[in-house]
């Protein structure tokens, strides 16, 4: 029994406390709200680190606490609690660490904003909810926090509420992820009625699968429904459209929510309920194919974007696809989770670096940047490290995790292996394009960029270090991390094919980027002109947004308008008709109301006589005769 694990509830408690304090104090803590939250998240990081350290003990038991009855109706007993195992201990570490660094960074980034206390309270609420997702021990609890992170994302994307784009993006983010969430909810409902005792905790699901209590049809349906939830949250095709738009939010949010943590929750969900997926080959194949397709699909879009944050956003979508594919092609969740873990660091680093750049030049268009390396040494170096890590150049962290996924794909799904290699090539290409355009060459627009303050660069440096070293925990041949995470030693023999192949495509991508954008031997404009139709399609993101607009939004508006018209004219018309008939009849009968009391009385008497006649004729009143005849 763990000593630290039983205090794991402290981890989400600190940010919750921060949220309540900052929310309640409001403007009073406008200046110190940020530092308060940073201190609290340091506290929660320390607890998470202690738990993580404790989990390193070999053979340690998982800690489960679920004694709080949230709702009990009939046979249903929904409890809240938490479970600490290696998987969520790792997630706790990632979330608390990235959240802490991002909040530190935000103190600098949001210094000018009038509503920064609101911002920090939202971030604290988000951190709390995200930790809740991670620690949940049953599906309903997970769903509760799952929705809460969604709403925090919504609030933060729309943080600058006066911007029309921010409003639209927030709305879109909420609605599109909600489509996924309904899938998750439906999956939960399905499991609730099929699990013995309506138990929804992960251990019971695992046991039920092993005991054969669930039919394979139920398992496949439930797994796919849950995966729909993951697709929505992790921005997988076809529900990816909200994620790039979500870049309207403040950049630290993009780093924390839309790169490192919340969007990875989908991957985490699949890993957490991996038992369900493993039991259904169909579901696994679905995960792998959707993941692989998203990886290459988003990477190609990334090639043709000009907004620095959007490029990174498509890169996130693509990398999340990678993770999904890593889960889908392998027999354990080690590969996907390893990539999640490294990706959290280098993608947060890239976003924060981008934020630093935006902070300096006040634009997001990479065509208007250039030559920033002279003015922003730390940002440039750390961004370069992030780029190399994302591109998968050894020995940076991204290389090792990407390699593990490629290895699994190489062994199990060779087609997807090729797809993943191509995606890796595109990744390297768009990242080098981004890097060289922004940091090298000449400034394309007059500006006076300056390095960001220390409070912003320190998180960059920490994340850069992690982006270098994080991969070393799981080197091929001594895969300690995989073993620790999943409890089983990896079965596939290490192969050098994927390793060499991925290194080659990464270097190739970077070199091509370099010859176009760093030391221009060829003009990128010429290439663009040659492939103009292709470029247009990519630049417009395959017209998916327009497609949804035409096939979903417009018909929906029309349908709503039609039903509304139906309601106004047909239903209310029918009601008015009844009203009209009543009025009409009333007007006619009112004419008999001539004011002559004696007439009224006469009618009354005749009515009485008729009634009496009817009663007698019907044979009623027999009793009266009977009595008088007795």
């Amino acid at each position: 029994m763990g000593t630290y694990s039983q205090y794991a509830w402290l981890v989400p408690l600190f940010p919750l406390l921060g949220f309540i304090i900052v929310l309640a104090a409001g403007r009073l803590v406008q200046r110190i709200g940020g530092p308060i939250n940073v201190l609290l998240s340091i506290a929660s990081f320390v607890v998470a680190a202690l738990i993580g350290w404790e989990r390193l003990t070999p053979g340690i038991e998982n800690y489960v606490w679920n004694d709080w009855t949230w709702l009990k109706i009939g046979d249903f007993n929904i409890t809240l609690g938490f479970e600490i195992n290696n998987l969520n201990a790792l997630m706790l570490l990632i979330v608390t660490l990235v959240s802490m660094l991002v909040q530190l960074y935000s103190i600098g980034y949001m210094a000018e904003d009038d509503r920064k206390h609101v911002f920090f309270s939202y971030i604290a609420l988000f951190t709390f909810s995200m930790l809740g997702v991670v620690m949940s021990e049953n599906l309903i609890e997970l769903y509760i926090f799952w929705e809460l992170v969604g709403v925090c994302s919504f609030l933060l994307v729309g943080f600058w509420y006066e911007k029309l784009e921010a409003k639209k993006a927030a709305q879109k983010a909420f609605l599109v992820t909600r489509v996924g969430d309904t899938g998750l909810l439906a999956g939960i409902l399905l499991l609730a009625w099929n699990m013995p005792g309506h138990a929804l905790d992960f251990n019971s699901i695992f046991n039920a699968i092993n005991a054969g209590d669930l039919s394979s049809g139920v398992i496949t349906t439930a797994a796919i429904l849950i995966f729909i939830g993951a697709v929505g949250k992790s921005g997988q095709f076809p529900l990816h459209t909200w994620l790039p738009d979500a870049m309207e939010g403040p950049t630290p949010i993009s780093a924390l929510i839309h790169a490192a943590t919340m969007v990875a929750a989908g991957v985490y969900l699949v890993a957490r309920s991996f038992d369900l997926f493993v039991a259904s080959p169909t579901a696994m194949l679905t995960v792998a194919i959707i993941g692989g397709f998203t990886a290459i699909f988003a990477a190609t879009i990334g090639l043709a974007q000009y907004d620095i944050k959007r490029i990174l956003a498509y890169s996130t979508v693509s990398q999340l696809g990678y993770m999904m594919m890593g889960l889908g092609v392998s027999t354990t969740f080690a590969a996907g989770m390893f990539h999640l873990y490294t990706h959290a660091f280098f993608k947060a680093l890239l976003f924060l670096g981008a934020g630093s750049v935006i902070h300096a030049v006040h634009t997001q268009d990479i065509r208007e940047m250039g030559g920033l390396s002279k003015h922003m040494k730390i940002t440039t170096w750390t961004f370069a490290i992030g780029t190399l890590a994302l591109s998968g150049v050894p020995p940076f962290a991204g290389f090792w995790s990407k390699d593990l996924i490629l290895l699994e794909a190489y062994h199990h799904q060779p087609v997807l292996f090729v797809v993943a290699l191509v995606a890796a090539f595109f990744t390297a290409l768009y990242m080098s394009r981004l890097f060289f355009l922004v940091f090298t060459g000449k400034a394309r627009k007059p500006a006076h960029p300056h390095e960001s303050p220390a409070v912003m660069t320190i998180p960059l440096i920490i994340l850069a270090i992690l982006s270098v070293v994080a991969g070393f925990v799981n080197l091929p041949g001594s895969e300690k991390f995989s073993e620790w995470l999943t409890g089983v030693a990896p079965e596939e023999a290490t192969s050098y094919v994927p390793m060499i192949a991925s290194t080659i495509v990464a270097l190739l991508g970077i070199s091509i980027g370099a010859v176009f954008y760093w030391r221009p031997k060829f003009s990128a404009e010429n290439v663009k002109k040659t492939f103009l139709p292709v470029f247009t399609v990519l630049n417009n993101k395959y017209y998916i947004d327009e497609l949804y607009q035409k096939t979903i939004q417009v018909p929906y508006d029309l349908l709503a308008a039609f039903i509304d018209t139906f309601d106004k004219y047909v239903v209310q018309g029918a009601v008015s008709l009844i009203q009209y008939i009543v009025n009409f009849v009333g007007n006619i009968t009112a004419k008999t109301q001539n004011g002559q009391l004696q007439n009224y009385a006469l009618v009354l008497v005749f009515g009485l006589i008729i009634l009496a006649a009817v009663v007698i004729w019907m044979g009623g009143g027999a009793e009266v005769w009977a009595i008088s005849g007795k």
Partner: protein, 555 residues
């Protein structure tokens, strides 16, 4: 065996009467305040409306949460009428006993508290009323008596009396203090609800004179020389008569010598007729598609504080009546018609959501949203299991709180901007940050965000419905996307974006902010810790389910 007969009598025998009649005290005091003293009338009304909360809180605190039976029961004979009827050729004295019976169980207890709470919050919101305060507040308090009575009445007659008592003050509240087309709205309100009441009255009389037939009791000894036939309107007795196999067997035994076997036991087709009558009568109140048009007008014409009560509580009277009378009297019919009920629920849910999406007026949007949310209550009823029923009751409470909060906000917003049109408003977060934040909270609660009350009820209703109707549940689950779509559209068009009205406005005053915060606190409380309601509810429904299964086994 009669699960309905078991009750506990408390040491304070008239607590519920005191609760129901407590607004009278306020009326009495208001009657002595000159009608020109607006401030004093407002203060008195607010303070007077706190009294029912106190008593309701006392009832809640002293309620035995571990027993599902009816508690704090008061039962007196109100009036009795005797006549002679002929069973075959033998004249037998008949006695009709109308009861004055009050009582609460786990289902009505939360609704009673909700009524007291929302009514008091509506009094706070009524500070925005501009004319004829005295009459207004007296009518509001009469309305409160009626509502409290409906949720505590345990006899059909009393239920009907209180049910009707709400109509009259409501008619004047809409007709005098409403907006432009207030009189038309008031008339339509009266016509529709009058129609519903007529149907209800017909059904009630039919039930009393048939199923109210009592066979058990001291005076009903079969062997005695002069048997007396009793008719009662006591709800638990009637439910027992209709569904307890022992009681039915007894009645059959008693009636046999007179050659009567079905008249008082209700044939299947009679039960169906009555069930449908009750469904329509309460469906008008609920409102159920296609009887919903009257409430659209009320929502868009009545003053916000009145709509708080209307949408928050009056609609729930329909749902409660359907549960307490319709479903508890005719469970077999409810079970057999579950599919249709579920379809009606889904239609309400989606139809309301679609219409809400097309509105350009916040009030109409919220009206359609109410229709949509009432669909969830129907879904819970259609589930026919404990969790579904609890979902329905939770939804009554949750929607009561949320719509009260929403209309509170609508009132405050209208007071400041003079419009509730979505296209005229925008960027209100800038000028009215508190009201906008509250509106966002209300919206999120309305679209079923976990941690707020709406989620709990939706979750339970869906879980319940899934047992027998998975396909309909999948469709209903899609409804929550539509809900999110219209709620976000409404709320974000008002609070986000460029500031549309640049006049300087003062944010909510304390007297407005207080009820908003209180309502929000309850929404969060129920969302975070639903056990606060589910404990007694579960116990009561457990009794119910026990007897439902009994019926299933028997039939």
């Amino acid at each position: 065996m009669g699960d309905f007969g078991q009750m506990t009598f408390e040491s304070m025998p008239h607590l519920l009467t005191a609760l129901v009649l407590s607004p009278l005290l306020g009326i009495l005091i208001l009657a002595f305040i000159p009608s020109s003293m607006g401030q004093w009338l407002k203060r008195t009304a607010i303070i007077a409306s706190l009294l029912p909360i106190l008593i309701a809180g006392y009832v809640y605190a002293n309620f035995n949460h571990n027993a599902g039976v009816m508690q704090f029961v008061e039962k007196f004979e109100w009036t009795s009428i005797s006549w002679t009827n002929f069973y075959g050729s033998q004249p037998i004295p008949n006695e009709l006993h109308l009861q004055y019976a009050l009582g609460v169980d786990g289902i009505s207890l939360p609704l009673v508290f909700l009524t007291a709470l929302v009514a008091a919050m509506a009094m706070f919101a009524s500070v925005l009323i501009k004319k004829r305060w005295k009459l207004y507040f007296i009518l509001m308090l009469i309305l409160e008596i009626g509502m409290l009575g409906v949720f505590t009445a345990q006899s059909l007659t009393l239920f009907f009396v209180f049910f009707e008592l709400t109509l009259i003050p409501m008619f004047f509240l809409i007709g005098i203090w409403g907006l432009m087309h207030r009189e038309k709205a008031a008339n339509q309100f009266l016509i529709f609800n009058g129609l519903g009441s007529a149907i209800l009255f017909f059904g009630i009389i039919w039930i009393i004179t048939t199923a109210g037939f009592t066979v058990t009791g001291n005076t009903m000894d079969i062997s005695a020389d002069q048997p007396v036939a009793h008719f009662t309107d006591f709800i638990p007795t009637i439910a027992d008569n209709l569904n307890n196999t022992d009681t039915i067997a007894n009645a059959t035994e008693w009636l046999k010598p007179y050659g009567l076997d079905t008249t008082y036991l209700l044939s299947n087709s009679t039960k169906w007729t009555l069930f449908i009558l009750l469904l329509v009568a309460f469906g008008i109140k609920l409102p159920m598609f296609p009887f919903h048009t009257w409430m659209l007008r009320v929502h868009s014409e009545a003053p916000a504080s009145v709509v708080m009560i209307h949408s928050g509580i009056l609609l729930k009277m329909g749902a409660y009546g359907l549960l307490r009378i319709g479903l508890s009297f005719f469970p077999e019919q409810a079970q057999e018609s579950a599919t249709w009920l579920a379809i009606l629920g889904v239609v309400n849910l989606l139809y309301g959501a679609f219409c809400a999406f097309a509105q350009d007026e916040l009030r109409s949007l919220l009206a359609y949203s109410s229709i949509s949310h009432m669909g969830i209550i129907l879904l819970g009823f259609a589930a026919n299991n404990t969790i579904g029923y609890s979902g329905a009751v939770f939804q009554m409470i949750s929607h009561g709180l949320i719509s009260a909060l929403f209309f509170m906000l609508v009132g405050s917003l209208y007071e400041r901007t003079g419009t509730t049109s979505l296209s005229d408003l925008g960027g209100m977060s800038k000028s009215l940050p508190f009201i906008s934040a509250m509106m966002l909270v209300a919206g999120l609660a309305s679209l079923g965000l976990p941690g707020l009350s709406g989620f709990v009820s939706e979750l339970m209703a869906f879980i319940g419905l899934f047992e027998n109707h998975p396909t309909l549940t999948y469709i209903a689950v899609l409804g929550i996307i539509l809900t999110a779509a219209y709620v976000l559209r409404g709320v974000m068009n008002i609070t986000y974006g460029k500031l549309a009205i640049s006049t300087k406005m003062a944010d909510a005053q304390l007297v407005e902010a207080f009820p908003m915060v209180v309502l929000t606190a309850f929404i969060i409380l129920i969302g975070v810790y639903p056990s606060v309601l589910s404990g007694p509810l579960d116990q009561s429904l457990h009794e119910w389910a026990h007897w439902l299964n009994h019926t299933q086994a028997g039939g």
